[in-house]
């Protein structure tokens, strides 16, 4: 087998996807493993290069915007919110959003309850609705401390929860993923859904921050 085989695929797809920006940096052991495993799986017909490319595009297309649209709709439409609290995956379909096959559960913040999501055992996260998790979500600090000192961790995000509000930590240990529906902030009366969705950030939907209304 030619040494440059990885650049000359015989199965009719685009040249090997070395990234120009990455070529300036050393190739690590695990990067080489990733390249080799993907190429071998394509050659063996486990999946096609097109399937891999389509999956990469779908990963890039996932962002917190989908979750934010759902939260904004829930804020203006009580029936939708009820549907979302009952079954996020089905409610997502109502908006033409594919939330995937893993069941997602929404938990709602109120005047007396603040929810925050963590995965102490790994890094489970509702990826299809809010994209890939940020580094801090996967960090030892967040995973260790959120269950033991949630209010201190929240304060590190600038979120101070009053003593009279219950802080409820959800450890996503099993088959479900969790998403926070933040409370609609004051000062947003009359806003349309698109404007509301803009203030619903990824971090709000993990429960580490609250939606902020920009000062005018």
């Amino acid at each position: 087998m030619a040494r440059d085989h990885t650049h000359e695929h015989s199965h009719g797809h685009a040249p090997h996807p070395f990234q120009p920006d990455l070529e300036d940096t050393p190739l690590t052991h695990y990067q080489a493993m990733t390249q080799a495993v993907g190429d071998l799986l394509i050659e063996k017909g486990v999946f096609s290069a097109d399937e891999l490319r389509a999956t990469l595009e779908s990963i890039d297309a996932r962002s917190p915007a989908a979750g934010a649209r759902m939260v904004a709709r829930a804020w203006v439409d009580e029936a939708f919110k009820a549907h979302m609290l009952e079954d996020v995956n089905a409610a997502a379909q109502e908006l033409g959003i594919d939330a995937g096959g893993i069941p997602i559960r929404a938990v709602e913040n109120t005047e007396v309850l603040h929810n925050v999501i963590v995965c102490t055992l790994c890094s489970c996260y509702p990826r299809l609705l809010i994209g890939l998790p940020p580094d801090w979500y996967k960090s030892r600090s967040y995973r260790s401390r959120t269950v033991r000192e949630p209010r201190t961790v929240l304060a590190e995000f600038g979120t101070v929860i009053p003593e009279q509000v219950e802080v409820r930590v959800h450890d996503s240990t099993a088959d479900l993923r969790y998403l926070v529906i933040p409370a609609r902030p004051a000062g947003t009366d009359g806003w349309d859904e698109a404007a509301l969705a803009e203030i619903v950030t990824r971090d709000c939907m993990v429960g580490v921050t609250l939606p902020k209304v920009p000062a005018f």
């Binding site: 000192e149 209010r151 219950e166 802080v167 930590v169 240990t173």
Partner: protein, 98 residues
Amino acid sequence: MSPRFGVGAAVQVRAAFPPGHVRTPFFVRGKSGRVTEILGPYRNPEELAYGRSGEPALPLYRVIFETASLWDDYQGAAKDTTLVDIYENWLDPVETRT
């Protein structure tokens, strides 16, 4: 498999420490809580992890704990709570007297 516990049931997480792949966090083992929801049957992760079918599926519960009961030195509010999803093989009943 019909669920052994109903919503509202007082349960205790087994204080067990098997060496393999399990999804019950260390910090709730031996602790008592209450079932808030039966999430349904899910394939057993302790079997799935080793390439087997995960059948029979197990009832999966949402269990709520008072956070202050989980830690000796909890600094938050007394009303704070923690919810963890736990498979039925990890739960024992708790006798409740009212």
